[in-house]
Amino acid sequence: MSEELKVPTMAELFAAGKEPEVLFWVGCSGSFDDRAKKITKAFVKILHKANVSFAVLGTEESCSGDPAKRAGNEFLFQMQAVTNIEVMNAYGIKSVVTACPHCFNTIKNEYPELGGNYQVMHHTQFMNKLLEEGRITLEGGNFKGKRITFHDPCYLGRANNVYEAPRNLIKKLDAQLVEMKNCRKKGLCCGAGGAQMFKEPEKGDKDVNIERTEQALQTQPDIIAAACPFCNTMMTDGVKNKEKEDSLKVMDIAELIANAGDL
């Protein structure tokens, strides 16, 4: 994992007169959070492996505005959105992939009205597409028979009705997909959405991520699969709280795929 990753930026490609197949929207977590950066890199490896011509905005990328909007700061959200849309439209971007369901939801659903119309995919959908097109192949070696439970991110599942893409990938790993008590439409939030990620929770009996981690532990998983950097953080904290970090891992679907293929 030590070799450097080649990550082209839109600016570089534009200067060379090239147009990538897809823009990889990295997002703030993917750019700055140490845990989420690993997800970003795993996904970039998959993109390389599949020979996808992609680019990132790099220093021209800015927060999608999701946490501001959910916190009630519509003004800040729209400022962010309009600025991002200007950058993306200037590059003539048509399709976007992101590993963050919050960016995914915002860009896909809330940008069009403000002038940003793109085909937006979550990375689990994109990886499925790569598999279907035969651009990557999967042999589940490393995860064969492992018990994997999938935590539905609210902004991927309920918010956008994407339930099967991540599950399909887990099944392709020859792993045993075990469902939690609350899954799919009834999936329980990790506790990070609606800008909760950035504040202490209100007074209560318990933190939401602990409740969700308990549900996950009931399935006795080897791995808790996540598909959102915020969920990943919350579930990792929950597992640590339960002192289970030695016996099970919280991993993003992109990391599972990258590891399975020994990328």
Binding site: M1, E4, V7, T9, C28, G30, S31, F32, D33, K37, T40, K41, V56, G58, T59, E61, S62, C63, G65, P67, A68, R70, A71, G72, N73, E74, F75, L76, Q78, M79, V82, N105, N109, E110, E113, L114, C154, R158, A159, K185, K186, L188, C189, G191, G193, G194, A195, Q196, M197, F198, K199, E200, P201, E202, K203, G204, D205, D207, V208, E211
Partner: protein
């Protein structure tokens, strides 16, 4: 004198329906206090939603036990109301069982009413047990104390009494038919009430007629009274579920509305040709308030949502914040919105249609910021609602008011928003470092 019963019946009927119409007018007026217009787009999709969710009860049966019992009461309510039509015609014209000439069809109708009535009684008893003996959690949350609890029980009692009256009426009628009493046309099949005719043994014909008449009158008066009780209870959903599912959100649940008032401001800010020193035109209307602090700042659909809520609590029982002991309950958000709207409506009634400031508002006097800030915007409440109510949109609108009008966000969120403003990320990292991850091993 022989037309006295017909006249009395007409007076009761007109009073009952007239009073109900007055309440409907109030209801419509109150809903119209909301902002914007009711959506007029995508009519066919909306009709399909209404047919599927309200008429077809698809979201009720997500919880099989409550769903099944509810379908029984729902079918009972709709089908037994065909009988009410006959009762009304009989009442006005002094006929008896005017539909009897339908023959076989009539027998099937009456028989199915009877079976349904019995099933409704069973369902209502189980509903009562679930609320009062099993005490299912969502029925005993803090917001259910007092009137909401009484209201729920009262509705069950009324339904029970109405069904018992219906069966008693039929039983007495059947007994009178057996006794060849004149005026009591031999018609109908009585698979349920035939088993209670034995209570009339030894009773005089006049006595049985008295029982039949009392049951008949109380049944129809009870139905009219129940119709008028709706407006004062949580039970309006039996009517409003239909428009509410029709006007329900069609966009992806994750898509929150972009505030137009804000878009105008943002566009002005981004416009290089805008004159930064321009004063607003003299006759310019005052700018819209950002977000909502009272019911008048909510949309008409949101207010319709509030009246439609029947306090079943499925939203609250799925809410991650409520499940972990926080104060937030999406059901309470809807109940508070309705209660405040009623308060505003009463204010209008008392002041000849003009609202006199009462120094109260939805935010603070009904819903506390603590509740609003506990929401994770996960959409579980929206998904759980069997009649397409959206409590989340009200929570977000009220957060918008807190943040944009009052700068009253929790301080950590102010830090997060400051970071986004200054460096384009919710954490204090430099935007120029966004691609550093690519070089780190």
């Amino acid at each position: 004198m022989q037309y006295l019963p017909n006249v009395v019946f007409l007076v009761i009927l007109i009073t009952g329906i007239g009073y109900f119409a007055r309440n409907v007018k109030k209801l419509v007026r109150n809903i119209k206090l909301g902002r914007g217009e009711m959506p007029s787009d995508n009519k066919s999709r909306r009709f399909k939603n209404m047919a599927r969710i309200a008429l077809g009860q698809t979201k009720m049966v997500v919880r099989p036990i409550a769903g099944f019992l509810h379908v029984i009461v729902y079918l009972g309510f709709i089908i037994i109301n065909i009988e009410v039509l006959e009762i009304i015609i009989d009442g006005i014209f002094g006929t008896h069982r005017v539909f009897a000439p339908l023959g076989k069809i009539y027998n099937i109708l009456i028989a199915s009413f009877e079976v349904l009535a019995l099933l409704v009684i069973l369902a209502v008893v189980i509903f009562w047990l679930r609320r009062n003996i099993i005490r299912i959690k969502r029925f005993i949350k803090p917001e259910m104390k007092g009137w909401p609890k009484k209201d729920a029980d009262l509705i069950l009692y009324i339904e029970l009494v109405l069904m018992v009256l219906f069966l008693t009426m039929n039983a007495a009628d059947y007994q009178l038919q057996l006794l060849d009493t004149p005026h009591y046309t031999k018609a109908g099949l009585f698979p349920v009430s035939q088993f209670i005719t034995s209570v009339f043994e030894g009773m005089s014909v006049n006595g049985i007629i008295l029982v039949e008449r009392i049951a008949w009158w109380m049944h129809i008066v009870g139905i009219l009274a129940f119709l008028n009780y709706l407006y004062y209870s949580k039970h309006l959903h039996i009517l409003l579920a239909f428009p509410n599912t029709y006007y329900g959100k069609l966009n992806k649940p994750g898509q929150f509305t972009n505030l137009e008032a804000v878009t105008r401001e943002v566009k002005l800010m981004m416009d290089p040709n805008a004159d930064p020193f321009a004063a607003p035109a003299e006759d310019a209307p005052p700018p819209d308030k950002f977000g909502s602090s009272d019911v008048m700042d909510l949309s008409k659909v949101q207010l319709l949502n509030a009246y439609t809520c029947t306090e079943c609590g499925r939203c609250t029982s799925e809410c991650p914040a409520n499940l972990t002991g926080k104060k937030l309950s999406p059901r309470k958000i809807m109940m508070d919105t309705r209660d405040r709207l009623e308060e505003v409506g009463n204010n209008l009634n008392a002041n000849k249609g003009e609202f006199i400031d009462d120094g109260r508002q939805l935010l603070g006097d009904f819903i506390s910021p603590e509740e609003l800030w506990a929401c994770t915007s996960c959409n579980a409440c929206v998904e759980a609602c069997p009649v397409s109510i959206d409590p989340l949109s009200i929570i977000i609108n009220m957060r918008q008011y807190l943040v944009m009008e009052q700068s009253a966000a929790p301080s950590e969120l102010n830090v997060m928003m400051g970071n986004i403003e200054n460096n384009g990320a919710p954490w204090p990292f430099n935007q120029m470092d966004r691609l550093n991850w690519a070089d780190e091993s």
